[in-house]
């Protein structure tokens, strides 16, 4: 089979990817919980195969404002990680981190941006640990980059990469929420061409 063609993934392969997503997101949620000192709930990861154009709907449509932290992943299974959160969640996070009153942030300054980058860094590292654990690969994240803009525009960076391989995206998606005040986040892990097959082989579900 063509491991790049996400439409041809078997139940078993999807389950294996879901389990990686589960552990990875669990690691990331724990890290985030420690940073902001709040209990964090996470949903069971959804593994969905969506037409590329439908992916922005996962975060509320292509025109909603979101903050995105993007990292490249280096190693035997290179790829990209995108952590997306609604604008309000990004503001809530920086208020919490900077020790300010809730809802005092309405635009990000340099320190805020730097704090969000660091959060993205920590979450990506936590997530990659799970992937490294299952595959036994050494996977290293790049320096993160931040953008706050329309969801469609930010997602275009990963959708374009996926578009080179097909018309569908494999989205392993987890939503984080804090107890009272909703910090929501969405995690996307996008293997480069060839990497999905490498990952499936490494975790023993090549066929």
């Amino acid at each position: 089979m063509l491991p790049e063609d996400v439409l041809k993934l078997t139940e078993l392969q999807l389950d294996a990817l879901k389990e990686i997503g589960n552990v990875g997101a669990g690691n990331a949620a724990t890290a985030l919980s420690q940073i902001i000192n709040r209990k964090i709930d996470m949903t069971v990861p959804q593994v969905a195969i969506l037409p590329l154009g439908d992916v922005p709907d996962v975060v509320g449509g292509p025109e909603v404002t979101v903050a995105g932290v993007y990292l490249r992943v280096f190693g035997p299974a290179p790829g990209s990680i995108l952590f997306l959160m609604p604008q309000e969640s990004a503001f809530y996070l920086v208020d919490t981190l900077m020790g300010r009153n809730a809802q005092s942030t309405h635009a990000l300054d340099e320190m805020d941006a730097s704090a969000l980058l660091e959060i993205g860094n920590i979450l990506a590292g936590a997530y990659l640990n799970a992937l490294s654990y299952f595959t036994k690969f050494t996977l290293l994240p790049s320096i993160p980059a931040l953008a706050m803009d329309m969801a469609g525009a930010i997602l275009s960076i990963i959708l374009i990469q996926l578009g080179q391989m097909g018309d569908h995206a494999l989205v392993i998606e987890t939503e984080f929420t804090t107890e009272n005040d909703g910090v929501k986040g969405h995690f996307f892990l996008i293997p480069d061409p060839g990497s999905l097959g490498t990952i499936l082989q490494a975790i023993g579900v090549k066929e």
Partner: protein, 161 residues
């Protein structure tokens, strides 16, 4: 308000007055508005990639600059547009994330804009206005009654081409 026809990512739509064509949240993708002012027939394409010949899969021609635009012009002609009168306005092709060492993946917005210009030149369609590049998202709307291409951003204002 005219009725809106939504154009998704990797898609194109054609229509005529009184409809408007709109595509939300373009980043590195490019929106191409083609318009025949006499018949008030227009088309809006939202392409993702420059070139279908380098792609692993080419099942959706609307995804690529080189395959989407000839098809869209054909569909406009079927509605009654005349090819010699069609003019183009383009927007998008941003680089959303800044990295120190820019890879090809990062530069895809720039490559998309270049490809669109090349394809339009080959098709002998003149570009009369453009708003490409930058590091921000755009929502684009082609207003079919008058051919204005309206570009909205989150904090870079709104403009009309």
């Amino acid at each position: 308000m005219a009725e809106l026809i939504k154009v998704g990512m990797a898609d194109y739509k054609v229509g005529r007055n009184p409809y408007n064509l709109i595509s939300y949240g373009l980043g590195s993708c490019v929106g191409i508005a083609l318009y025949d002012s006499v018949t008030q027939i227009g088309g809006l394409a939202h392409i993702m990639l420059p070139d279908s010949t380098q792609a692993r899969s080419a099942e959706n021609p609307a995804k690529f600059a080189d395959t989407a635009l000839p098809l869209m012009i054909e569909d406009m002609q079927k509605l009654g547009a005349m090819k010699g009168r069609i003019l183009a306005k383009i927007a998008g092709g941003a680089q959303m994330f800044a990295f120190a060492n820019v890879t090809d993946i990062m530069r895809v917005g720039e490559r998309n804009s270049e490809a669109v210009k090349m394809v339009l030149k080959k098709l002998a369609v003149k570009i009369v206005a453009e708003d490409v590049g930058g590091n921000y998202g755009r929502t684009v709307e082609l207003i079919l009654p008058n051919g204005i291409f309206r570009i909205k951003t989150i904090d870079k204002g709104e403009k009309e081409l």
